[in-house]
């Protein structure tokens, strides 16, 4: 059981970076960005491709981050310059990335067994198991990224991106090019997601062409769990709650699997959870109307 939980935490910490990326598009910019599914796989593909080709794992991760930013830029350009709806722009990039990822990998999957990943030095230095080294590095990266993002969204550029998601009219009236802020937000988001993918592939010792499928839904599930359970008013805690949400999601999944749910049903389970969570406000509203009309009945 302990092993299961540790595994879940380690996975959650790597997906935390992905969840932060989803937060930037979904909550800050107000865009459901499907690029995520492609850029997560691309991060894995680039890192695995670099490492299996004999390159350094760090170089692999760095290229993955850049590649993710480029993918986000592609979606941003399609959306802002060509005026394609955001959702469709993301889907287009996602589909394009499928072919690109296949080219990067050269096969449907790459094994990283017995290769030197970014986790190897940590493992050696601390003398821990792989899982613990993933937790260690994952936690350091997550906290670092939360801090950097907190700083960034407090800067002039970051504030402009936040305002763009709330009211693009106002932002343009204040002399800010909303095309730029949207593209920038998408680039940062997908760079984070690709970074996450590059670490995930190294933690699980393989990259798979399909590993991004459903990633956006997992990201959203983590985001909502984070907001409901840990979401605070302060921006820093809100960012931190994304990481905690990702970990909680993984623990829930681990427990559900442990309780005997077949792993084939995982995606269905996640989809239903997200659909329910997203419809919570509507349910609350219905509940309120119901209560009101009942009270009126009673008064009559």
């Amino acid at each position: 059981m302990e092993q299961v939980l540790l595994g879940a935490v380690s996975q959650g910490l790597l997906w935390a970076m992905m969840t932060l990326g989803v937060y930037i598009t979904y909550r800050v910019l107000g865009i459901a960005d499907m690029t995520a599914e492609g850029s997560l796989t691309m991060g894995a593909a680039v890192a695995a491709g670099t490492i299996s080709g004999g390159g350094s794992a760090y170089v692999g991760v760095a290229i993955a981050v850049l590649a993710g930013a480029l993918a986000g830029m592609m979606t941003g350009l399609l959306h802002t310059k060509l005026r394609i709806p955001a959702l469709l722009s993301g889907i287009l990039t996602m589909i394009a990335l499928y072919s690109i990822n296949l080219r990067i990998m050269g096969a449907a999957n790459i094994s990283l067994l017995r290769k030197i990943t970014v986790f190897a030095p940590v493992q050696e230095l601390m003398g821990t198991s792989k899982t613990l080294s993933v937790i260690l590095l994952g936690a350091v990266c997550s906290i670092l990224l939360v801090t950097v993002l907190y700083w960034f969204f407090g800067t002039e550029i970051g504030s402009a991106i936040r305002a763009t998601g709330t009211n693009p009219h106002m932002v343009r009236a204040q002399g800010i090019n909303t095309d730029t802020t949207i593209i920038l937000g998408l680039m940062i988001s997908n760079a984070l997601i690709s970074f996450s993918g590059s670490l995930i592939s190294q933690a699980q010792n393989f990259a798979d062409l399909q590993m991004g499928t459903g990633a956006i839904v997992i990201g959203l599930a983590s985001l909502i769990i984070g907001e409901v359970l840990f979401g605070q008013r302060h921006f820093y805690t809100r960012l931190l709650s994304m990481a905690l949400g990702a970990i909680t999601y993984r623990i829930i999944i681990a427990l559900v699997l442990k309780m005997g749910m077949p792993s084939d049903d995982l995606k269905l389970f996640t989809a239903i959870t997200v659909a329910l969570a997203l419809s919570l406000p509507r349910f609350r509203e219905l509940g309120r109307t119901l209560k009101k009309s009942l009270r009126r009945e009673g008064a009559r």
């Binding site: 960034f152 407090g154 800067t155 002039e156 550029i157 970051g158 504030s159 402009a160 936040r162 305002a163 998601g165 709330t166 009211n167 009219h169 106002m170 932002v171 343009r172 009236a173 204040q174 002399g175 800010i176 090019n177 909303t178």
Partner: protein, 265 residues
């Protein structure tokens, strides 16, 4: 200050819904002019303002502000020279952000955004003073989200934001139309104070004849995309609502006599 020459704007050109919103309009404003613009629905008042602000590109003609050619610049680049307040109180501010954050965004209008911190401590002092001048108690809740404010408070804040950093022109687009009469008067009063204090060249579109007569040194009446009347100075000061109605009738602007206009008498 403002020089509009032969501006034409056609919506849905080449379709059955084609509509000439601005028909070869020319208009000049001097430095410090405060022009009120009235006219019926579809007269082209808001279109004129939006063409100056760059929300819509013009089909023909030129727009210059202080000898800077605006008509080919995108909206966000024109913002450097223009302060704007919209009809919808939701439009001018970012609801999810604090009062001071909104002011900080406006304070940087026309400047390049950098990786410097988005709001400095010394700015907050300035904002506190400016907010206190609105007399709405906003200076004590500077960190509060703008979404928590009433429509009137939001319009007052937008007005403050629009006048920060001395814009070359202030564009008010029926900015009190969505407010209750009492709040509308208060916001109009505030607008007038700001305009006088900063000597702002202003164009104010309004549905309210009384306000159009009471404020500004010049009045323009529009109909079907053209300027029907242009009255300024002494002549405007002596103008009464009845005179205005008679002038409209004479000018053949029947459409102008719509319900909102009569109700606002």
């Amino acid at each position: 200050m403002l020089d509009i020459r032969n501006v034409t704007k056609i919506f849905n050109a080449g379709t059955v819904n084609e509509r000439k919103a601005l028909d070869n309009i020319s208009l000049s404003m001097s430095d410090g002019d405060f022009v009120t613009v009235i006219g019926g629905n579809g007269a082209g008042k808001s279109t004129l303002l939006n063409c100056i602000a760059g929300v819509y590109p013009v089909d023909e003609g030129t727009i210059m502000v202080d000898n800077i050619k605006l008509d080919r610049l995108p909206e966000y680049k024109r913002a450097k020279y223009l302060g704007r307040v919209f009809q919808d109180p939701m439009m001018g501010t970012a609801a999810d952000m604090g009062i001071q954050e909104n002011l900080a965004l406006a304070w940087r209008r026309g400047n390049r955004r950098t990786l410097r911190w988005g709001i400095m401590d010394k700015e907050k002092e300035l904002y506190r003073k400016l907010l206190a001048s609105l007399d709405l108690g906003l200076e004590d809740r500077m960190a509060a989200k703008v979404g928590l404010l009433s429509g009137g408070q939001r319009q007052a804040l937008t007005l403050l934001m629009a006048t920060l950093n001395a814009p070359k022109m202030l564009l008010l687009d029926e900015h009190t139309a969505a407010l209750d009469p009492k709040t509308a008067r208060k916001v109009l009063e505030l607008s007038d104070q700001f305009i006088k204090k900063e000597k702002l060249t202003t164009m104010m579109v309004t549905h309210n004849m009384r306000a159009a007569l009471q404020y500004g040194n010049r009045l323009i009446m529009m109909n079907e995309g053209t300027i029907l009347l242009d009255i300024s100075g002494e002549e405007k000061a002596k103008l009464r609502i009845d005179d205005l109605l008679r002038l409209f009738e004479k000018a053949g602007a029947d459409e102008f006599m719509n319900d909102r206009m009569l109700l606002s008498k």
